[in-house]
């Protein structure tokens, strides 16, 4: 039971959770942070290796593993045939044999082709047989660039319905590093969702050297007393911008981990502000927003000054054409309007 319970205590700064003492910090993009963290972990631990499609000489569709083959060799930056179940399934076998595989789905959408191995084999092995499966599945997710219905999805809720998987969704470069390091060192399968829209647009200070962010801990990205926006991934940035532009006393809680959920931090913030908006780019029904709203309603009903609201994509596939896509994905104006409405309630 203890392993299922999340850890509480959200922290306020961007990179406060480092276990070690960083020798310094350097500003970099979210993408550079992912790539750098992976490289550092592979240097630190020779059991860590990457596998995925086009990750070798080509360096991956988004260049996360650029230069890895030269440094680590083809065995540790393994180009896989176009077979997602093979990527996940062989990673399970390698993991139980003492390696630490980091799988790359070229796009998170393609996890559907490896879903069986993930949810039926990887997720359940420890519960069924006490076999730990230390592996990471990196999932470039999210829309906003006309990727269409098969290159834009946010599949995080699929994984949360498969007990045994941890699910993390960094929003900052610092957390991208800290959570990837923690995911690689975790003895469980971890789905690491990296939002493609953040790759080159988000830059922040990343601690150099040893830097981990505990899985299961949310982060207060902006402090406020009038309402809480509970968000993750790209929606954190939307919420921060909305709060700044509205110039209101809005708290933004960045969940960072979706499974196990940091229930204490959610409840602590909402009990204080009395109003909660849950925001994500993923579709609405049975999404993370529904779970968080239910949690708040069950545990903090007496503290609420307004109904819990959600800002999400509607229950449709992500369309291709820019005006259609923008109509589906939550935009800054939608976020501002949702905050305004809740503040005025």
């Amino acid at each position: 039971m203890s392993a299922v319970e999340p850890r509480g205590g959200a922290s306020v700064t961007a990179a406060p959770d480092s276990d070690g003492s960083p020798s310094g910090a350097r500003e970099m993009t979210y993408l550079e942070a992912i790539s750098g963290a992976l490289r550092e972990e592979m240097r630190r631990d020779e059991t860590v290796f990457c596998l995925g499609e086009d990750i070798g000489a080509f360096g991956g569709a988004f260049k996360v593993t650029e230069g890895f083959v030269e440094e680590f060799g083809a065995d540790r930056c393994l180009d896989m045939p176009l077979a997602e179940n093979a990527i996940i399934g062989t990673a399970v076998g390698a993991a139980v044999e003492g390696l630490r595989p980091v799988c790359e789905m070229q796009f998170s959408d393609f996890i559907s082709c490896g879903f069986d191995q993930l949810v039926n084999v990887a997720a359940k092995l420890h519960y069924r047989q006490g076999v730990a499966v230390p592996m990471v599945v990196r999932l470039p997710s999210g829309g906003g660039f006309s990727g269409g219905p098969f290159h834009s999805q946010n599949p995080e809720a699929w994984f949360i319905q498969a007990p045994g998987l941890k699910v993390v969704t960094p929003a900052t470069a610092s957390d991208a590093k800290g959570l990837l390091v923690s995911a690689i060192r975790d003895p469980n399968p971890v789905c690491y969702l990296e939002h493609k829209g953040l790759y080159r647009h988000v830059r922040d200070e990343v601690p150099e050297g040893e830097h981990t962010v505990p899985i299961g801990e949310a982060r207060v990205a902006r402090s406020g007393d009038e309402m809480t926006v509970i968000a993750y991934g790209s929606s954190v940035h939307l919420a921060l911008r909305a709060a700044d532009e509205l110039d209101e006393d809005i708290e933004v809680l960045d969940l960072r981990t979706l499974a196990p959920l940091d229930r204490e931090s959610i409840l602590g913030s909402v009990r204080r502000t009395g109003k909660a908006l849950v925001a994500h780019e993923a579709t609405r029904s049975c999404g993370v927003g529904a779970e968080v709203a239910a949690l708040i309603t069950e545990e903090a009903f007496e503290d609420l000054d307004a109904p819990v609201r959600r800002l999400t994509a509607p229950d449709v596939p992500i369309p291709f054409s820019p005006p259609l896509e923008q109509a589906v994905l939550p935009q800054l104006d939608d976020m501002k309007e949702a905050c305004r409405a809740l503040l005025a309630y």
């Binding site: 039971m1 392993a3 299922v4 290796f49 065995d75 896989m80 045939p81 077979a83 179940n85 093979a86 996940i88 399934g89 062989t90 990673a91 399970v92 076998g93 390698a94 993991a95 139980v96 044999e97 003492g98 390696l99 069986d116 191995q117 039926n120 084999v121 359940k124 092995l125 420890h126 519960y127 069924r128 047989q129 006490g130 076999v131 730990a132 499966v133 230390p134 007990p163 045994g164 941890k166 003895p187 469980n188 196990p260």
Partner: protein
């Protein structure tokens, strides 16, 4: 085999001395493991009929030679993913029948402690990762184990089983293809038991799946899966090839599932003549005859092993029945791991390993029976 040609006799004798992988005790072991699998499954079926087994019941009656002959070649540090018709492989690696029977009954003393049922188990401390219902998922997991061996330059082999039905699934192709690309040290055992549940071979594939092996870049061999020494020999050759860097082998074992898919299945779709023909080729009876005819066993030696196995399985059933049901508080325990431990080593009863000083020796039941 009788011959009066002295040179043939001499040549055969030399071959045995040089090449004979199986000692008399090995042969007794092969027989004993098959008999133990049969007796354990018969006992489990009785428990099922007595209402002591929740869910349904699945066994490998008629297929005992496949799992026993194949698993017998493995060394301690080799690894397996075992399927639901392959109890013999678990027994060889060191799972005792009481833990198997307790697992069927959902007891605390079962291999999974009640977390999973029937044959969905694998003892990680004995080098096994247990199966899931989706087939042939474990072919990819075993392939990943082999990838780890190859990456680390270890002379180890992974082995896994699947049925004819599995060869229709895309993951079968993914495993064969990837293992072929990297010439991974893995042995694939295809148990063609003629039916995928009720679907016969002719509705499963247009071409015998063993024919596909060469298109993945490795060898496929087609053998009599009801001949335990033929299975052993094919698996030994394949495992030695894999350890030497020669890559995978697909071994198709021709056999027959002599019970329904599960105890709820009356096999009405199996032609009577077909069933009767395979009944005459029972792997245990055949091997008993062969031990007497070819390997110097007396009929009473063979009967003695059967008796000893019956008594042992009785004792194991009593142990399993004495095992309590699991504490319901455990239902929410163990979703996540707090740490990761490598798999342990399996028992390796084949005399090659004890001669090398590398084996864990015989499984407990074999020691007690000697």
């Amino acid at each position: 085999m009788e011959t009066t040609d002295a040179s043939v006799v001499a040549r055969e004798r030399v071959r045995e001395l040089v090449d004979a992988p199986l000692t008399r005790e090995d042969r007794a072991s092969l027989f004993r493991y098959m008999a133990t699998m049969r007796a354990s499954e018969e006992r489990a079926l009785t428990l099922y009929k007595q209402g002591k087994v929740p869910g349904s019941f699945y066994d490998g009656r008629g297929q005992e030679a496949v799992s026993v002959g194949a698993a017998y070649v493995l060394g301690p540090r080799d690894r397996m993913c075992i399927l639901h018709r392959d109890l013999g492989a678990h027994l060889i690696r060191g799972v005792t029948p009481d833990r198997y029977l307790a697992n069927y009954m959902g007891r605390a003393g079962g291999v999974t402690g009640g977390k999973d049922g029937n044959m969905h188990f694998g003892d990680r401390q004995l080098g096994c990762v247990g199966m899931v219902s989706m087939l042939p998922d474990m072919a990819l997991v075993a392939t990943g184990m082999a990838l780890a061996f190859k990456t680390r330059g270890e002379e180890r082999v992974a082995m896994t089983f699947f049925g004819d039905g599995s060869t229709a699934n895309g993951q079968w192709h993914e495993a064969m293809n990837f293992a072929g690309i990297h010439r991974l040290p893995i042995v694939f055992l295809l148990e063609n038991n003629r039916f995928a549940y009720s679907t016969p071979n002719e509705l499963e594939f247009a071409v015998d799946p063993v024919e596909r092996a060469h298109s993945y870049g490795f060898t496929g061999v087609n053998i009599d899966g009801n001949d335990v020494e033929a299975v052993f020999e094919a698996a030994r050759t394949a495992a030695d090839l894999a350890r030497a860097g020669g890559g995978p082998t697909l071994i198709e074992c021709q056999t027959m599932r002599m019970h329904g898919h599960g105890a709820h299945d009356d096999m009405s779709y199996v032609p009577k003549e077909m069933f009767e023909e395979w009944a005459r080729r029972d792997p245990i009876d055949r091997y008993a005859e062969r031990l007497v005819a070819e390997h110097g066993f007396r009929p009473e030696d063979v009967d003695g092993i059967r008796e000893e196995v019956r008594a042992y399985v009785d004792e194991c059933a009593a142990t399993a029945l004495a095992s309590p049901m699991p504490d319901s508080a455990l239902a929410i325990d163990g979703v996540f791991a707090d740490s990761s431990e490598p798999l342990g080593d399996g028992h390796a009863p084949w005399s090659r390993w004890s001669h090398d000083g590398a084996g864990n020796g015989a499984a407990p039941m074999e020691r007690r029976a000697s």
